[in-house]
C-alpha cells in the first residue's frame, strides 16, 4: 500500500467511511491475524484480538498522523490488543500441569528407545525445532517466531512488543541458544 493510498484510505475512514475501513482490514488482516496467532496460539483468540486491534484503530482514527507510516502504528496497536487479551486469559486461568512436559515425553520416545538405545529417525530436525520452540518461554519464543515465521524485522518486532531493538536481539539470541542447547541434547541422545 503506497503512502498516498494509505493516506487516502485513512482520510475516508476518518470521515466515518466503513467501506474504507473494511478495505483497510482486508489489506492488513493477514499481518495482524498472523501476529495475534503467534502471540495467543489460538485461532479464536487471534481473531478476537485482531478485531480488537482494527476497532481500536478505527476509534483512534482521528489521531492518525499522515506524516508517519500506518503499519508500525497498527502493529503496535495489535501488539497491545494481544497483550490485553493475554492478560485477561491468564488472569482467568489456574495453574495446571504443563503440557510441554507431557509432549516432551512423546518426542523423546520417538527420538530414542531407552531399552535399546536405538536412535529413531522418525522425527525430522524441523519437527524437533518446532517442538523445542513450543517449550521455550514466551518471552524468548515470541520474538524468534515473529522473526522467522512472520518475517518481521527486529524493528517491527520491537514495535509490536513495545520493547527496544536491543531487547529483541537479546531475546532472539537467547532463544537460539536455548534451542541450540536443547537440540544438541536431543540429537546426541
Amino acid at each position: 500500500l503506497s503512502k498516498r493510498s494509505e493516506n487516502d484510505l485513512m482520510l475516508r475512514i476518518q470521515a466515518g467511511d466503513l467501506v474504507a475501513f473494511e478495505q483497510l482490514v482486508e489489506r492488513y488482516q493477514a499481518m495482524v491475524y498472523g501476529l495475534a496467532l503467534s502471540i495467543l496460539r489460538s485461532p479464536e483468540d487471534a481473531e478476537e484480538a485482531a478485531q480488537d486491534a482494527f476497532i481500536k484503530l478505527y476509534r483512534a482514527r482521528d489521531r492518525y498522523d499522515r506524516a508517519r507510516d500506518l503499519e508500525p502504528w497498527l502493529l503496535r496497536i495489535a501488539g497491545n490488543a494481544c497483550r490485553d487479551l493475554l492478560r485477561r486469559r491468564r488472569a482467568a486461568a489456574l495453574p495446571t500441569a504443563t503440557a510441554a512436559a507431557d509432549s516432551d515425553d512423546d518426542i523423546m520416545a520417538q527420538v530414542a528407545d531407552p531399552a535399546t538405545g536405538e536412535v529413531g529417525q522418525r522425527v525430522g530436525v524441523e519437527q524437533l525445532v518446532r517442538h523445542e520452540l513450543e517449550r521455550l518461554s514466551e518471552k524468548v519464543r515470541l520474538p524468534l517466531e515473529l522473526k522467522y515465521m512472520r518475517g518481521m524485522t527486529n524493528q517491527q518486532i520491537a514495535e509490536v512488543l513495545g520493547v527496544s531493538i536491543s531487547n529483541v536481539k537479546v531475546q532472539v539470541a537467547r532463544a537460539k541458544d536455548v534451542l541450540q542447547s536443547r537440540l544438541e541434547r536431543v540429537m546426541e541422545a
Binding site: 482490514v25 485482531a50 481500536k56 489521531r63 498522523d65 489456574l94 530436525v125
Partner: protein
C-alpha cells in the same frame, strides 16, 4: 530428516569451535556480529568487513558457518508463512464495530499509549481509568484466589518418590555397585550418573493426585543426582527442572532451592554462552540457578534466603551468593508476600519518599558517597526505573511517586570507585512500607572486587552488544598507544563488560584508559582518572559510544602485479592523542585478480612489499580517490613539538625525526639500511633495536655498519636506531622514540637530603640516560617511597631527580653501574 537436509552444510562441532577460540580483539569483535550477519540484519559495510575477516580467519569462519547453519535450520523449520483468518473476517470486524458504536457511540479513542497521537479527551481518560480500576480489581481478586490456591498446595504430601523415566548412557550407583540405569524407581541412597554423552529424565512423584508427575528433572550429561533423606540432591553437573507443583532440590554446597511452578535451570556455568553468563575468572564460580519462567525460586543457604525471580540468575561466587540481573528483572512472582502499606495511609495517597543507604561491606559499613544507582521497582510484571545518587553520607532519597507502591526493587550501582573498583551485583531489595518513611529493608552494600563491570551505551543510553573494551596505555613520551588485548572484554547484550587485573602501576608519562571499539559507532578512548583524584570516586563505568556512519574504503592502490601489500587500518579515536591501528591485512595482488580490496573506515597506511624492498606510505581517502598523504607527517611534527621539552629534559637531543623509507627484506633476517631521513645519509655504528609496535617490547638487533647496513630478525617490528652521537632514528610514523635500558643499582639518600620531619620521602626519579646494554627498551620513571633505612635497592642505573615532600627537587641524582650514587 527432511529432503532438503542433505544440502545443508554440517555445522562445525562445538569442540571444533572450542579448539579455535577468538584469537584477538578483532576476532571477538566479529564474533559479536555473526548472528546479525546470518540474519541479514548487518549493514553492508559491516558485512563486507566481516567477510574479509573470515576469509583469513579459520576460527571465525567456523563461527560464522555455525551461525549460518543455525539460521538456515531455523528458516527451514520455521518458514515464513502468511496466515489468513477465516473467510469473512473483514465483514465480521465491521459488523462488530457497528455493534460497538451502537452500544456506546460516544466512546472516544483510548490509545494514548499507542504513540501516534495526542492524549484523548477527559471523558475517555475517565472511562479508561474506570476500566483500569475494574481490571485492577479483577486482577487483585484473581491474585487473592491464586494466593489462596497457592496456600492450598500446603496440603499436598510432599514426600516424593523418584522414578527414572528415561536414561541414556547413564548409570545407577547403589550400595557401591554401579549398574546401567534402566527405567524404574530411584531409591534412598541411590545416585544417578550420566556420562558426558548421556542424559536422563527423572520424575518426581508424590501421593497427591492433583498433578502427576510433580516435576520432570532433565539431567544433563556429566551430571550426578542422588536421593537422600527423601530429597533429590544435585551432586554435580546441571539439571533443568520443569515443575507442576512446588519442588525442592538440594545443591552441592548445602543450599536448598525451593521452586514453585515453572521451569528452572540449575548447574554449572556454561561458558559456551558468553553473551549472558559473566565470566568472573574465578575458580570459586561454580554454579548458578535460574528461574527460566514461572514462579520465583528461593535459594536458602546458611540461614539466608535469596529470591530468584524470572530472568534473574543467582550465582555462587567466592563462597557467597550474588544475584545478577540479566536486564529483564520485570517479573513479580507468586508466593512473594509484599510488605503491607502503612495502615494509616489512605489507599489513594502516595507514599512519602523512600530512603536508603549505600555502604561498603568491607570497610566497616563506611558510606559510599556519590554512587549512582539504577533502581527498578517491580510490580505486576512491570519495572519502573529511577536513578538516584547517594550523598556525602551515603544516603539517598527517592521522591514520592506511584513507583513506591511496588514492594520490591532491583538496585544496580553504576558508579565505581578507583582503585579498588568497588561494585556489587544487583539484587532484589524489599521495601519496608510500614515505617513512617519507607526505607529499604537493608542498605545497599558495595564490595571491593578485583573484577568490575562497565557498561557501554550509545547516545541514547541503550546498551551496545559486541563492543570491545580494551584497557589501553597511552605513553605520552613515546607517543605510542598500547592496547592490552589480553585484558579486553567484549560487551554482552546488556552492554556489560567485565574487566580484570587492570595495571595498577604506571609510569608518570603513561596514562591508563579504556579504548571502546564497535563496528557501527565511533571509537572512543576514555581516560581513567588517577586513583587519588577526586574524579576517581565518582567515575562512572557507563561508557558512551557515538553513532557514526561506516563507509568502507575500496583500496585500489597497486603499481604492479604480484605485489604484496600490508594494509593497516588506522582510525582516529576520540580522546586518543594519536591514531590507532585496528587491523592489518596482507593483500597479495596477482596479475589475474582485481587489484583492489575493501577496508574499513579511517586513515590508511600501506606498506608495500616486493621481492627487493618495502615501502611505507601514508594514505588517505577522499572523494573516492586514494591519495598519498603528505599531511600524514603533519601530526607527527605536532607530536614532536609537544614532546620536545619532555625529551630534552630527559637528556636526549632529537636530531631529526626519521622514517626509514627503505627496508630490504630477504630470508629470515631483514637486511636493513639505516639512513637519516630525507638527507639519506647512512647512520653508521648505530645501536639498533626491534620494537614490537603493539606491545612495546624490544630486542637488540645489533649495530649498523659503516654504510648503515644491518641484518637481523626484524619480523615486521619497528626499528629504532640510536647513533653513537645520540641521534635517534625510528621507522614508526607515529612518533620518535627515546629509550633507556638501565642496569640495576641501589640508592642511599644522603643525610643532608633526608627530610627532618617526615618519614616518607617521595622520590620522583626520571631515568635520563641512554646507555642501553640490555635488550629491553623503556623510558622509565619511578615514584618511590623511601623506606626507613633510607636504602633503596634494585634501582636501575641512570640519572634521576628526586622530589622531596617540601617540593624541593634534587636534580642530577645519578646511579652508576657499580651502585655509586652521585648527587650533583
Amino acid at each position: 530428516m527432511s529432503a532438503g537436509e542433505g544440502a545443508m552444510r554440517q555445522p562445525p562441532s562445538p569442540n571444533d569451535l572450542r579448539r579455535h577460540p577468538a584469537k584477538d580483539a578483532h576476532c571477538a569483535h566479529f564474533r559479536g556480529l555473526m548472528r546479525d550477519y546470518a540474519d541479514g540484519e548487518l549493514t553492508a559495510a559491516l558485512g563486507a568487513a566481516l567477510e574479509l575477516h573470515v576469509h583469513d580467519c579459520r576460527a571465525c569462519a567456523l563461527g560464522l558457518a555455525r551461525s549460518e547453519h543455525e539460521v538456515l535450520r531455523l528458516r527451514r523449520a520455521l518458514p515464513t508463512t502468511t496466515v489468513e483468518p477465516q473467510p469473512g473476517f473483514a465483514a465480521r470486524t465491521v459488523q462488530r464495530l457497528v455493534q460497538d458504536l451502537e452500544r456506546d457511540p460516544e466512546l472516544e479513542p483510548q490509545l494514548a499509549a499507542a504513540g501516534n497521537g495526542v492524549a484523548g479527551p477527559a471523558r475517555g481518560r475517565r472511562i479508561g481509568s474506570r476500566i483500569t480500576l475494574a481490571l485492577s480489581a479483577m486482577a487483585a481478586t484473581l491474585m487473592v484466589i491464586a494466593g489462596l490456591l497457592w496456600q492450598g498446595y500446603a496440603e499436598i504430601d510432599y514426600s516424593a518418590r523418584f522414578v527414572v523415566a528415561k536414561a541414556f548412557h547413564t548409570h545407577v550407583e547403589r550400595n557401591g555397585v554401579r549398574t546401567a540405569a534402566v527405567p524404574g524407581a530411584l531409591g534412598e541412597g541411590d545416585s544417578l550418573v550420566t556420562d558426558s554423552d548421556g542424559a536422563a529424565l527423572v520424575q518426581l512423584e508424590d501421593r497427591s493426585d492433583i498433578v502427576h508427575p510433580g516435576a520432570n528433572v532433565h539431567v544433563a550429561g556429566d551430571s550426578k543426582v542422588a536421593v537422600a533423606a527423601n530429597q533429590l540432591h544435585l551432586a554435580d553437573g546441571s539439571v533443568e527442572v520443569v515443575t507442576s507443583r512446588p519442588t525442592e532440590v538440594a545443591l552441592p554446597d548445602g543450599s536448598l532451592l525451593s521452586m514453585g511452578i515453572g521451569t528452572y535451570s540449575i548447574g554449572a556455568i556454561d561458558y559456551r554462552r558468553p553473551d549472558y553468563v559473566l565470566d568472573f575468572g574465578s575458580p570459586d564460580l561454580r554454579m548458578r540457578a535460574e528461574t527460566v519462567s514461572g514462579d520465583a525460586a528461593k535459594l536458602a543457604r546458611g540461614g539466608k534466603t535469596d529470591t530468584i525471580v524470572a530472568g534473574q540468575v543467582a550465582i555462587w561466587h567466592g563462597g557467597s551468593i550474588v544475584s545478577i540481573d540479566n536486564g529483564d528483572a520485570n517479573s513479580i512472582v507468586n508466593g512473594l508476600r509484599p510488605t503491607p502499606r502503612r495502615p494509616d495511609l489512605p489507599s489513594d495517597q502516595l507514599l512519602p519518599a523512600l530512603r536508603g543507604r549505600v555502604q561498603f561491606d568491607n570497610r566497616a559499613a563506611a558510606p559510599a558517597r556519590e554512587v549512582l544507582l539504577e533502581i527498578d521497582f517491580l510490580e505486576g510484571g512491570h519495572a519502573r526505573q529511577v536513578e538516584v545518587r547517594s550523598g556525602e553520607d551515603g544516603l539517598f532519597e527517592i521522591p514520592s511517586g506511584r513507583h513506591l507502591d511496588a514492594p520490591f526493587a532491583v538496585i544496580r550501582p553504576i558508579t565505581s570507585e578507583l582503585p579498588n573498583l568497588a561494585f556489587s551485583m544487583p539484587r532484589l531489595y524489599a521495601v519496608d512500607r510500614t515505617a513512617e518513611v519507607p526505607v529499604l529493608s537493608e542498605p545497599v552494600t558495595l564490595s571491593d572486587a578485583p573484577t568490575f563491570d562497565c557498561f557501554v551505551v550509545d547516545d541514547e543510553g541503550l546498551p551496545i552488544e559486541g563492543a570491545l573494551v580494551v584497557p589501553t596505555v597511552v605513553d605520552g613520551l613515546l607517543g605510542m598507544v598500547w592496547p592490552i588485548e589480553s585484558l579486553l572484554t567484549p560487551t554482552n547484550y546488556l552492554g556489560r563488560g567485565s574487566l580484570h587485573s587492570l595495571p595498577n602501576r604506571l609510569e608518570p608519562h603513561q596514562q591508563l584508559g579504556l579504548l571502546l571499539l564497535h563496528g557501527t559507532h565511533a571509537a572512543r578512548w576514555v581516560a581513567l582518572p588517577d586513583a587519588n583524584s577526586p574524579a576517581a570516586a565518582s567515575f562512572q563505568w557507563r561508557l558512551q559510544l557515538h553513532d557514526r556512519v561506516v563507509a568502507p574504503h575500496r583500496v585500489g592502490v597497486r603499481s604492479e602485479a604480484n605485489v604484496t601489500q600490508d594494509v593497516l587500518e588506522v582510525i582516529a579515536v576520540e580522546g586518543l592523542p594519536s591514531a590507532y591501528v585496528v587491523s592489518r591485512q596482507t593483500l597479495t595482488f596477482r596479475a589475474d585478480s582485481s587489484p583492489s580490496a575493501l577496508v574499513g573506515d579511517g586513515q590508511l597506511w600501506l606498506r608495500q612489499r616486493s621481492a627487493s624492498q618495502t615501502t611505507l606510505r601514508g594514505m588517505y581517502y577522499q572523494d573516492n580517490v586514494l591519495r598519498v598523504s603528505q599531511e600524514a607527517t603533519q601530526p607527527i611534527d605536532e607530536r614532536l613539538a609537544q614532546l620536545q621539552p619532555l625529551i630534552q629534559s630527559s637528556g636526549f637531543e632529537v636530531v631529526r625525526h626519521h622514517r626509514n623509507e627503505i627496508l630490504a627484506t630477504e630470508g629470515p633476517h631483514s637486511n636493513v639500511q639505516v639512513i637519516e631521513g630525507p638527507s639519506g645519509v647512512p647512520l653508521s655504528q648505530a645501536r639498533c633495536y626491534a620494537i614490537d609496535p603493539d606491545g612495546g617490547a624490544a630486542r637488540v638487533l645489533g649495530t649498523s655498519g659503516s654504510a648503515g647496513e644491518l641484518s637481523g630478525p626484524l619480523n615486521g617490528w619497528s626499528l629504532l636506531a640510536i647513533a653513537a652521537d645520540g641521534r635517534i632514528a625510528f621507522n614508526s610514523p607515529l612518533s620518535p622514540a627515546t629509550a633507556s635500558v638501565l642496569q640495576v643499582g641501589s640508592l642511599s639518600v644522603g643525610q643532608e637530603h633526608r627530610p627532618s620531619q617526615s618519614q616518607s620521602l617521595l622520590l620522583r626519579m626520571t631515568a635520563v640516560g641512554n646507555n642501553t646494554p640490555h635488550g629491553r627498551l623503556h623510558a622509565t620513571f619511578w615514584q618511590y617511597t623511601v623506606p626507613n633505612d633510607w636504602l633503596m635497592s634494585n634501582l636501575p642505573v641512570g640519572q634521576y631527580e628526586a622530589q622531596l615532600p617540601s617540593g624541593e627537587v634534587i636534580r642530577g641524582v645519578q646511579i652508576l653501574a657499580d651502585d655509586t650514587v652521585v648527587l650533583n
